[in-house]
Amino acid sequence: MNYTPQELMVAAAARQIQDRELVFVGMRLPMLAFQLAKVTHAPRAVSLFENGLLREASAQAMIYTMGDLPNQIGATWATGLIDVMALLQRGAVEVGFLGGAQIDRFGNLNTTWSNAGERKLRLPGSGGACDIACLAKRVVILMNHEPRRFVERVDYITSPGYGSGGAWRREQGLTGGGPSVLITSKAIFTIDSASKEWVLHSVHPRVSLDEIKQSVGWRLQIAPELRETVPPTSEELSRIRAFDPQGFWTRRAV
């Protein structure tokens, strides 16, 4: 069955959500992943949005922003940003989703500044990403797999991963668990429990191991039993396409 890398990413991200979990969702692909999880294995997962919304029911129409009316209508709780961040800061949020322009070996994310040769490029900034990175129990990261985005050390830490590795998070006083999974358009990575650097966990169908190795800016750890990523099932695909009929987020040519 045909699918886009984004559709695979959505399906893989959905599998990171367990039933009854409180999930800090965010927009774009994670939003679709949450919707997918709700209709498959996690019907009682609860979604949280930093603008001040909590939903037990899924949104009934495609949304561009978390403020869109289909996300407001049918919400269980409409409140302020600090109330939602409070759930995060007191450790009640099991999983948060993040993206980024640049990521490094230890899962630190940069969405603020990047160096393009001589030029410094200004990116949009943190939004709630730093808060999620610091405070969620687990963090799942979704990124488009382009070599320039995978660096030994990010130019700017917008959203802390494991800093320089090892016990860095504890030393900083960070209470959240840090990144647990990185899902790119080519592979899936998990975290080495001691060094806190990425370990290549699985490679997507039709992607070679060499391609992955050459695309990251450091000497990549590879899991002893490297797998192929489980592709999306036909049910998952039909669900995803129902949520994003124009392929706006999943870039599917219709």
Partner: protein
């Protein structure tokens, strides 16, 4: 003596050159675009803009030449990506940028709204956001844990759009609130635009829906569709096409100038603006 006035009067009186202005407090919801455009038309200068995520309004104010500094968590076009005026201005050094997370900017205002000079948080630890004079490492006086102290910020003006209010400024804010209550509590002056002005008795029917006391509000202005193109719970949908069109038409300064003339500078008021939009398609 009523607080009710026109948008022209309210912006003229409440927003002064050099002011610190907080707006876009509902994140992508209920953004006070009408008031923002009036600020551009009145050629206010050297403003410091404060907000969490501000979809494209900050970008328009920067492109309109009103801004010298931005203190915010995220500036872009949520559906489209980059905010081009913002990027150009920050990359060239034309404006100063102070980076926050959503929680740290919220806490700056919460501290001021509560009347304390700082509040502690566990966010931002270990991040480069700490390179910010309003954030400082500290230790808990009880547990000795590492925390971040966030300094209070009292803006000169908060600009808020809500569904309805009485003439004293007691407002129903339906839908998500973002950092609206914090912004109102923190600011010296509050400019409130609303879809409808109603009698106080209507407000008192459900005082739980009032988000802040009217005693904090300086001016109340009736501006129907005042948050367009952002959505407003109970009134209208987001105008997605408008955001994408803006994205396409702000990639260069030249294109942006044309957009600005068409949608802001050359329009005398909000009524003319609305006549250019198929507003009935968006109405709930």
């Amino acid at each position: 003596m009523t607080k009710v006035c026109t948008l022209t009067e309210a912006v003229h009186t409440l927003v002064r050159d050099g002011d610190t202005v907080v707006l876009g407090t509902g994140l992508e919801h209920a953004i006070p675009f009408a008031a923002g455009h009036e600020i551009i038309r009145q050629r206010k200068r050297n403003l410091t803009l404060v907000g969490p995520i501000s979809d494209i309004l900050f970008d328009q104010l920067i492109g309109g030449g009103c801004v010298k500094k931005v203190e915010a968590a995220w500036i872009g076009n949520v559906a489209g990506g980059s905010a081009y005026n913002f990027r150009r201005a920050v990359e060239s050094g034309a404006i100063e940028m102070v980076d926050h997370s959503n929680l740290t900017v919220a806490l700056r205002l919460q501290a001021a709204a509560w009347g304390v000079p700082f509040l502690p948080t566990r966010t931002a630890l270990g991040s480069d956001l700490m390179d910010n004079p309003s954030l400082k490492s500290m230790r808990c006086p009880f547990t000795n844990e590492l925390l971040v102290a966030v300094a209070a910020l009292s803006p000169d003006v908060a600009i808020i759009h809500a569904q309805r209010a009485d003439a004293n400024g007691n407002a129903y804010c339906l839908g998500n609130l973002g950092i609206t209550t914090q912004a109102v509590g923190a600011s010296r002056r509050v400019l409130l635009t609303v879809e409808e002005i109603v009698e106080p008795e209507i407000i008192c029917e459900r005082p739980e829906l009032v988000a802040f006391s009217g005693t904090c509000v300086t001016a109340v202005v009736k501006v129907p569709f005042g948050a367009h193109p952002s959505p407003l719970v109970g009134y209208y949908h987001r105008d997605d096409a408008y955001f994408l069109d803006y994205h396409a038409r702000s990639k260069t300064p030249q294109e942006f100038e044309k957009w600005l003339a068409e949608w802001v500078s050359h329009l005398p008021d909000r009524a003319q603006y609305l006549s250019k939009i198929k507003i009935e398609k968006l109405r709930l």
